[in-house]
């Protein structure tokens, strides 16, 4: 380590703990408490990155989250590589490995810098204007090349191995920012008894006070800082969150906070989350987010070694680092003189103070003069020199009109410090839809009235001195506690705004007229210069929103924290409007980038979504079932034997059901218990069917429409008692059907005496289907006569099976003799196993959803959502028979009376048989009239379901075809990549059309 760049003492680093780290492979040392940026500067490293567009060498510009240049990748191991971190925020730890970005082959020699030589030819909008033709080249040639040359770090290539956490929290007062205003606000609110959360992005509380050599002097109260922090940490109603960025302000006082838990540790516990995302709902919010220093715009203002004055002061006082050996300060305000005085005290020669203002007579400038520092008033900067580090600066005196007229003077230096005044950080306030107002005296946008229950305090509302900010925070904290409903003591008054900077925000330093200014950067991260902005204005752009998009100023990941006001001032001057009339662009969340992992939280891997399993799942898994996702459910799709293909397994399962007996888990079916004396009235109004005539103990296939007349859901409905129905829905429809029922009941028919209860998960449903089903159950079922006469197809009976209470349905979705045993869910697996054991002599075979689909398609039974798509009426689906024609009204009835709903040209459900019986059509394939039709074709329908039917020894398909029922026997065609296939239109019922098997 070069000892001359570290001060002999001072700063908030722990000089007893040396920390080793590497930057681009070079081994370096810093101290505990350093950031990567401060440690690099201590080692004399200013060059840390290459710029986005021109690949210009860039150094550290700031000391905080506003940093546009010093973006690095931090590599912990082969998979833990985080790109685009701001070196000014990265805390140093033992073994930290950092890499620069956007350079090749190396940081010092970057081939992409050729863009810099070409920069006069790459003005604003260059890409839009140049790469327009030929159109096809954009995707293949231009965009990939431009993307490769531009840009930031590389995204990680491996899945993120770290875990992330979520936390909801509530408080009376949330304070964002732990500087003098925020600390005072949190303290005052807590003293009133409020529940307080205080967050700050830094590892330590103190905010701007951390950059003071003597915070007590700045506060005019020596012990206050330590006392207040200790009090907050110990307070039982206060939660202090450091390393926590408030990144977003959402409606109704919900703020998103991202807490970094392990990034600062050399060896994090892999079992602990890396970050925790907080969603904090606060009664009252105090924003104490501080202010950000503005750079100055002049030619060559982006070389390494040129930084903000406040940043240099921060490196000196907080980290004990001298940012250079010979400094020049360029300023438009008195405040920056503090920096020159501090550097001078620390022994860094200050070669010149360049002040654009013609006269300077404040307390600080006078102190500088007394210290013998050369102050050049009425002077501007016209250029800089130095390839990888600034070597000199060129200045020129301004005449009485503010025009540079004097001789050009060159001053050698290795550090140029800029101060263009401070911009209050109104990002969160603006995200909350608060409006900002231009303050002429302060030359800044200040927050106005908040639309949320929020207030600003300290520098973020233009109260810049630490002592005044502290008083303002105390005031805000007390008022916030009061508005949160707490009893508070006396309210101290608001301090005055200011102090003012002393010069108008002009954007750019004065330059000689008539010559184009080059390389005067406004937006460091997106490489936008003053010339780009002037060009946009000349080309006719007037709205700042348009100029932003055209030039990309303020659109980088730093969201223009350092650049926006300069850009605005330059545009305002060029188009001759005052700054407030040009207006501001919108601030958006996140304040600084937030890792995707933080938003995902626990929702990854097996917790990405709930995985719903049935009571019989474990048995199926044990039998080697292959599962499919149906909504959130896992359903057994088929049960392959060792070495068996899906096709073979499904064929075997289908044949077993048709020949012997199959066992199927139907537990996921939605179930709703409809109970009350008006239950039948409710069902009559809701479903298309007539229910009055349905006897207790009988079932009916019910169809539910929306009021637009299209099929919404279907399912078997059983009448358990005069006033009780057991309604089943599709697996996916369970929640939405119940919601629709509640909607009609609560809002349209509140007079009905009927209530709904979801019983989906109360019952396990075990379907036993096939010619042997009755024999299988006979030995198990108690209290129910299984004979066809006593329990015919579409009936239900209460009873017991193996001593377990059940509702036994005689229903069939396969076309075979079938039963569905409903038992309380905890008994599901035991009863299933008992049925399976009893069925083995009869060849019982568990089958999955795939076989179920084939079996029902053979019978022409639709699946809502597969054979319907929200535009299918009961008649389209061949289900007109189900409509209760005599009912005066039901949901969907009026819509079905529209003439278009009866058009013979509507798409109707039909069967399709391929001419080649072993060809299985693609589901979703189009159906056309013409054998020679070539794309683009005019389809008259599409295939909705398609399978190979082992029972029939050929393929079958269901399709919706225009006027389909009038086309029976016709040959139509299905285009495929291998040519058009001929298909014959048939009835959708391929198997046992008379239904004798299910009635057996």
């Amino acid at each position: 380590m070069s000892p001359t760049l570290r001060t002999p003492s001072g700063g908030r680093i722990n000089r007893a703990r040396t920390v080793r780290f590497t930057f681009d492979g070079r081994e370096l040392r810093g101290f505990e408490g350093d950031t990567l940026a401060s440690a690099l500067l201590a080692n004399g490293v200013h060059l840390v990155g290459r710029s986005f567009k021109y690949h210009r060498p860039r150094g550290v510009l700031t000391a905080g989250p506003e940093e546009p240049n010093a973006l690095v990748a931090i590599r912990r191991d082969a998979v833990r590589v985080t790109p685009n971190l701001r070196a000014t925020e990265v805390e140093l730890y033992e073994g930290l490995t950092a890499h620069s970005q956007n350079r090749w082959p190396s940081l010092k020699l970057d081939v992409g810098a050729v863009n810099g030589l070409l920069s006069p030819f790459i003005p604003a909008g260059f890409y839009y204007k140049t790469f327009m033709w030929p159109r096809r080249a954009w995707k293949r040639l231009y965009e990939p090349r431009i993307r490769a040359a531009a840009g930031l770090g590389r995204a990680p290539e491996h899945p993120d191995p770290d875990s992330y956490s979520n936390r909801f929290a509530h408080c009376d007062v949330l304070v964002v920012g732990g500087g003098p205003a925020g600390l005072a606000a949190a303290h005052a609110a807590a003293e009133s008894g409020a529940r307080v959360i205080l967050c700050d992005e830094q590892p330590q509380l103190g905010g701007s006070l951390l950059c003071e050599q003597d915070p007590g002097a700045a506060l005019e109260d020596g012990a206050w800082l330590a006392r207040t922090i200790a009090g907050l940490m110990a307070h039982p109603r206060v939660t202090v969150l450091t390393r926590t960025t408030a990144f977003g302000y959402f409606p109704h006082n919900l703020l998103g906070l991202e807490q970094r838990l392990t990034d600062h540790l050399a060896q994090p516990d892999p079992a602990q989350p890396r970050e925790r995302q907080w969603q904090v709902r606060a009664r009252e919010v105090v924003l104490a987010t501080g202010a950000i220093e503005r750079p100055l715009v002049f030619p060559g203002n982006d070389r390494p070694g040129i930084m903000l004055a406040g940043a240099a002061r921060s490196y000196l006082n907080r980290y004990g680092v001298l940012a250079g050996r010979r400094a020049v300060l360029v300023t438009v305000s008195d405040e920056a003189y503090r920096c020159a005085l501090d550097l001078h005290r620390a022994g860094t020669p200050v070669a010149a103070i360049i002040d654009v203002r013609p006269q300077v007579a404040g307390e600080l400038p006078e102190a500088a003069r007394r210290a013998g520092l050369p102050v050049h008033t009425g002077t501007t900067v016209v250029g800089t020199a130095g390839r990888l580090r600034v070597k000199s600066i060129r200045i020129r005196k301004l005449d009485a009109h503010g025009e540079p007229r004097g001789a050009v003077e060159r001053i050698a230096c290795d550090l140029v410090l800029m101060s263009g005044g401070h911009t209050p950080s109104a990002h969160l306030f603006s995200q909350s839809r608060g409006k900002l107002h231009w303050n002429e005296a302060l030359q800044a946008f200040l927050p106005g009235e908040s639309p949320e229950r929020a207030r600003c305090a300290g520098a973020c509302r233009g109260i810049f001195s630490a002592a005044a900010a502290r008083r303002d925070g105390e005031n805000a904290g007390t008022l916030a506690a009061r508005d949160a409903g707490l009893v508070v003591g006396a309210v101290i008054g608001e301090p005055a705004l200011g102090p003012a900077h002393g010069a108008a925000a002009s954007g750019e330093l004065p330059q000689p007229a008539g010559r184009p200014v080059s390389k005067a950067f406004v937006d460091w991260q997106n490489d936008v210069t003053s010339r780009d902005l002037l060009l946009a204005a000349r080309e006719g752009f007037r709205s700042i929103e348009h100029i932003k998009r055209y030039t990309t100023t303020g659109m980088a990941t730093d969201q223009g924290k350092t650049s926006n006001l300069n850009a605005l001032a330059i545009v305002a001057r060029q188009i001759g409007k005052p700054i407030p009339e040009v207006g501001l662009t919108t601030f958006r969340m996140p304040y600084t980038p937030v890792t995707f992992g933080g938003f995902a939280g626990y929702s990854r891997g097996e917790l990405f979504d709930p995985v719903r399993t049935t009571p019989i799942h474990d048995w199926a898994a044990g039998k080697g079932a292959v599962f499919e996702d149906v909504g959130l459910w896992k359903r057994a799709r088929y049960f392959p034997r060792p070495g068996e293909s899906m096709h073979a397994a499904v064929t075997r399962e289908c044949q077993a059901v048709r020949a012997h007996c199959g066992l199927f888990d139907g537990s996921t079916l939605g179930k709703i218990e409809v109970v009350g004396k008006d239950a039948v009235t409710f069902m009559n109004r809701l479903y298309i069917n007539g229910w009055t005539s349905l006897a207790v103990g009988r079932c009916r296939y019910g169809i539910l429409l929306r009021d637009d007349g299209f099929i919404y859901d279907d399912g078997v409905v059983a009448r358990i008692a005069e006033d009780r129905f057991h309604v089943t829905t599709t697996t996916g429809g369970a929640a939405r059907v119940l919601a629709m029922m509640e909607d009609y009941l609560q809002t349209e028919w509140p007079d009905l005496s009927v209530w709904l209860t979801s019983t989906t998960e109360q019952w396990a449903v075990i379907a036993v289907q096939g010619p042997s089903a009755r024999q299988v159950l006979e030995g198990l079922v108690q209290d129910v006569d299984l004979s066809a006469a006593a329990l015919p197809h579409m009936s239900v009976a209460p009873g017991r099976i193996c001593g377990v209470p059940m509702r036994l349905f005689r229903v069939s979705f396969t076309g075979e003799l079938g039963f569905e045993i409903n038992v309380p869910a905890d008994f599901g697996q035991a009863v299933w196993e008992a049925v399976y054991e009893a069925g083995r002599p009869h060849g019982i075979t568990p089958y999955g959803t795939e076989a179920m689909h084939v079996l029902r398609a053979e019978k022409g039974y639709i699946i809502v959502g597969q054979d319907t798509d929200g535009t299918v009426t009961p008649d389209d689906a061949g289900l007109a028979w189900a409509v209760g024609a005599r009912k005066p009204d039901f949901v969907g009835k009026r819509a079905l009376e529209r003439p278009a709903m009866h058009s013979p040209q509507r798409k109707q459900l039909v069967g399709l048989l391929t001419a080649e019986p072993h060809v299985v059509l693609e589901e979703g394939a189009q159906v056309v009239l013409d054998a020679r039709a070539a794309p683009p074709t005019r389809p008259i329908g599409h295939v909705t379901s398609s399978y190979y039917s082992a029972t029939l020894g050929r393929s079958i398909a269901l399709a919706l075809v225009r006027g389909g029922r009038a086309r029976m026997g016709q040959t139509l065609y299905v285009p495929t990549p291998r040519g058009n296939l001929a298909v014959q239109v048939t009835s959708p019922i391929f198997y046992d059309p008379k239904g004798s098997r299910q009635n057996a």
Binding site: H170, L607, L756, C802, A825, F827
Partner: protein
């Protein structure tokens, strides 16, 4: 024939230090008018209340307010038949719906000084005792699942979870609990 009437098997619940599954119990969902609600609570020997989001409990039974016309009645497992009959008698002639949902859901207990913080890993409600006092109950969400949350003590909560969500809910809580117990 085998008798399976004791062969109950509840859903999977992931173990973690602050969370334990509660043993099976009887659950009846009552919906109906004010007279039916009052009659049902009386039949169970519970004090009457119509206060929103409040549970009443006595001698191992509880009535949880879930909605203005909806109460979840909880009782020991053995009392299903007895209570069903008693309720049928008490509710005869009063407009209502009574549905057995014993197997629809299962119960978890989250307890310990960190119980509220743990639940806030996925539950968006303010669980400070001033906002969510002992005796408060409500349907809400935990991460991507719906739950019924009932505060049974300063440091203990009773969760009702639909059975197919029990694995998910308990796993989310187990993962979050690792952060608190480390």
């Amino acid at each position: 024939m085998r008798d399976l009437s004791a062969a109950r098997q509840g859903p999977y619940v992931a173990a973690s230090p602050l969370v334990r599954p509660l043993s099976p119990m009887t659950r009846l969902l009552l919906r109906g008018g004010a007279d039916a609600r009052a009659a049902a609570l009386a039949a169970l020997g519970l004090p009457f209340t119509d206060t929103a989001c409040r549970a009443v409990c006595a001698s191992g039974r509880a009535g949880l307010w879930l909605g203005p016309d909806e109460r979840l009645l909880l009782a020991p497992q053995s009392q299903l038949m007895e209570l069903s009959e008693r309720l049928s008698a008490a509710l005869a002639g009063r407009a209502h719906s009574l549905v057995d949902v014993t197997h629809r859901q299962c119960a978890l207990e989250v307890s310990g000084p960190q119980a509220g913080v743990l639940l806030n890993c996925g539950c968006p409600l303010d669980l400070d005792p001033s906002a969510f006092p002992v005796g408060m109950c409500t349907r809400t969400v935990l991460a991507k699942a719906e739950i019924v949350l009932w505060r049974t003590g300063e440091h203990s909560f009773h969760l009702e979870v639909w059975r197919s969500f029990a694995a998910y809910v308990s796993k989310v809580l187990a993962q979050a609990a690792r952060e608190l117990t480390a």
